[in-house]
């Protein structure tokens, strides 16, 4: 009761309500050091700080910082024309204690002051083992030739969707024709899709940039659960639209505008709980796109209340397929949890064409910190298990697998594809490409880099054209690197790498972990 009816409980218990700024038990995490000899008092940093941490004192003619408000987003450092600013971790530390670390103590103190669940943005930042960093790739030497991708064709094109069990062909007019109709497919020139980030959690400018970059690079962007803005309908052929438990912005035009429809069951950062967009962020445009009243909280229910079983999921999948006349693949996105392999098998049998597995390092616009940091499993293990399970059951060709959550580089993409994924989602990497510095304040809606904010003056900080170019450059660079890596392994197509775990070796992994990943330890033949 105390947690859910906070106001009433406070009244009955005669608790005083703490106001913003009354938070005084703790020391600031960051301290902003300004080189007074270099500072020209142009006040760019004061104007750019959206967290109200930087001030100008005209009497002393100095710029000073309220360190307790600083989140370490480094916007001031980036904008300073004379490089006068350094943001440092505060030297003050609680007494060393391996058990009671700084973040633990800070969390308790914060909660004691505010009495609410701590919210955060982005993905899990705890020091769990990153399996990507414990896997290495093979290369061709003497006995098998490597391929030079600059001189020979290298295929990155990927098709996502249900593949037939066998290929039946017939001769007609001297040409080979497929006997069966191939189910609808998504055609990707790079096996990278922009992850679901809803309009509302990110602003229009960033979503527009994602759309432009996706079209330029021949891939897709995912709208997230916030609907598709009318101005972005022209990018429908490069959009995957999401149907989440809140059903925000879903109507037949929305489904028909898209290239594919995704049913969002779970999110890696917060498996088992729904999205939450605070009412302050619901502006007129967002309310129109989401089809909810202006200023009202957009709270997605934790489950889909019409999906309590695989059979129910099948009903929704086929309802969407009927509505779109079987012209679009339907994907189902789940978070990586303990029995993800069995769930994925069920989803494949329920009629999904694509399954998205979101690992626990996947990002979010807002999630309770405790859930983000402690729920779910790593994507590497989940993909390895799902791929193996679907192969064992002989239904791997029924679905395509998309890996999401914690993909940081082209090497991660190559490794996860070798573990069995068809393509990947990148969300955090896309945000970093346009400026994000991982300060984890997305939930506050005042992102100083203009990404996760709808305040018009802050949203302007993303120039659609520049951001689209940066995103396109990222995809292009990664595509070149993937081609290089395929070439050195002697593979000329990404299809030949998929599920090819012999190309991977583990370093510093236990036998158990190697078994789960289905790879050998480095040094073994």
């Amino acid at each position: 009761m105390l947690f859910y009816e906070e106001k009433d409980a406070r009244e009955t218990l005669k608790l005083r309500s703490l106001k913003k700024g009354e938070y005084h038990q703790d020391y600031p995490l960051y301290t902003v050091v300004r080189d007074n000899d270099k500072c020209i008092r142009c006040l760019a940093c004061v104007r750019q700080c959206s967290y109200e941490a930087t001030f100008y004192d005209p009497v002393r003619n100095v710029i000073y910082n309220k360190d307790e408000a600083c989140v370490g987003c480094l916007r001031c450092v980036a904008i300073c024309p004379t490089d006068a600013i350094t943001v440092k971790r505060n030297d003050t530390k609680y007494r060393e204690n391996e058990n009671w670390r700084e973040e633990t103590i800070k969390a308790i103190k914060k909660q004691a002051d505010f009495g609410a669940a701590r919210l955060t943005g982005l993905g899990n930042d705890k020091g769990y083992k990153i399996y990507f960093d414990h896997m290495v790739l093979d290369a061709s030497q003497v006995t098998n030739p490597s391929i030079d991708p600059l001189r020979e064709p290298m295929e990155l094109r990927t098709f996502l969707g249900r593949k037939p069990d066998s290929v039946k062909v017939e001769f007609r007019n001297g040409k080979l024709h497929l006997k069966e109709k191939i189910p609808p497919q998504l055609k990707l020139e790079v096996p990278v899709i922009f992850a679901p980030m809803s309009y509302g959690s990110i602003n229009f400018n960033f979503q527009a940039a994602l759309a432009i970059a996706a079209r330029e690079a021949g891939t897709y962007f995912n709208t997230g659960e916030g609907g598709l803005h009318q101005k972005l309908r022209e990018f429908g052929s490069n959009a995957i639209v999401q149907v989440a438990s809140g059903r925000f912005g879903v109507d037949i035009d929305y489904l028909e505008a898209a290239a594919a429809v995704e049913i969002k069951i779970g999110q890696g950062a917060k498996p088992g709980i729904g999205g939450h967009l605070p009412g302050e962020k619901v502006t007129a445009d967002i309310s129109r796109t989401r089809m909810i009243p202006e200023g009202s909280d957009a709270i997605s229910p934790a489950p889909h209340h019409d999906i309590y079983s695989i059979e129910d999921l099948r009903l929704l999948i086929y309802a969407i397929k009927e509505a779109t006349r079987y012209t679009k693949p339907v994907s189902v996105k789940i978070a990586a949890v303990h029995n993800v392999a069995a769930i994925a098998s069920g989803i494949a049998r329920a009629g999904a064409d694509i399954i998205v597995i979101d690992g626990f390092r996947g990002g979010t616009g807002a999630a309770p910190t405790i859930i983000r940091d402690h729920v779910g499993i790593p994507i590497e293990l989940a993909i390895a298990q799902v791929d193996q399970r679907l192969r064992d059951e002989g239904i791997r060709n029924w679905v395509s697998l998309i890996a999401a959550g914690g993909i940081r580089s082209s090497a991660d993409i190559v490794k996860i594809i070798a573990l069995g994924a068809d393509a990947v989602y990148i969300g955090t990497a896309a945000m970093v490409a346009v400026g994000c510095t991982l300060c984890q304040q997305c939930h506050r809606g005042i992102c100083a880099w203009g990404i996760t904010t709808n305040r018009p003056d802050l949203a302007k900080r993303i120039n659609v054209d520049i951001a689209a170019e940066q995103l396109y450059n990222l995809l292009r660079g990664w595509a070149i690197e993937i081609r290089e890596m395929l070439g050195l392994m002697g593979v000329n197509s990404i299809e030949s790498l998929r599920g090819n775990r012999l190309k991977l070796r583990g370093v510093g992994l236990t036998q158990e972990e190697l078994d789960v990943l289905g790879i050998k330890h480095a040094g073994l033949q």
């Binding site: 020209i40 142009c42 904008i79 024309p81 004379t82 003056d457 302007k460 900080r461 120039n463």
Partner: protein
């Protein structure tokens, strides 16, 4: 002719165009010196630089000033405003001694030695793009009267400094005729 055109939808109110303008029109072309040393005279008595622009002027080092200004309505609308280099300039019409003139390439320039600081151009400019330069006065006995001050499109540069400095490309250097055809993608 090419002019600098501000795009409101992209301006983030950082004022780096002003910084770039000051640095470009300074003697040292160094931001720290332009801001912190130029235009300040060394006061022996205090052993410090004092911010008296007139003393600095006498020492031959006037404080560089910005010729563009970022306007902000406090509600998310901001843009950088500098001379539009009009084809039929009101300021030139208003200038009583010909210190404002149309150069051969179409730029509107100010002869700073000639300007008497009557500020009629400031009154006449429909854009509010001309400001006063308090570091300089040409009339004898009225040295502290400010002369006019306006954008000269950086004669030493191919592309004006403000355009190069803008982090979000909210200032573009564009042919006058092309401005009306220029489309900002997804503008409101």
């Amino acid at each position: 002719m090419k002019v600098v055109f501000p795009i409101e939808e992209r301006c983030i109110d950082c004022h780096l165009c002003e910084v770039a303008c000051i640095v470009e029109h300074s003697e040292t072309k160094d931001p720290i010196l332009a801001y912190m040393v130029e235009g300040l005279s060394f006061n022996e008595e205090w052993s410090a630089f004092t911010p008296d622009p007139h003393e600095a002027l006498e020492a031959g080092k006037p404080k560089p000033l910005n010729r563009t200004r970022v306007r902000n309505n406090g509600a998310g609308v901001s843009f950088s405003m500098m001379c539009r280099h009009c084809e039929e300039p009101k300021c030139v019409e208003a200038c009583k001694n010909g210190s404002l003139y149309i150069a051969e390439d179409g730029r509107i320039l100010l002869n700073e030695d000639k300007c008497v600081g009557c500020w009629m151009c400031i009154m006449a400019c429909p854009w509010g793009a001309i400001s006063r330069n308090p570091t300089r006065g040409n009339v004898k006995g009225l040295e502290r009267t400010a002369i006019s001050h306006k954008c000269d499109l950086c004669p030493d540069r191919e592309i004006p400094a403000c355009v190069m400095a803008c982090p979000t490309e909210a200032l573009i250097y564009i042919e006058k005729e092309e401005i009306k055809n220029y489309e900002v993608r997804f503008s409101r």
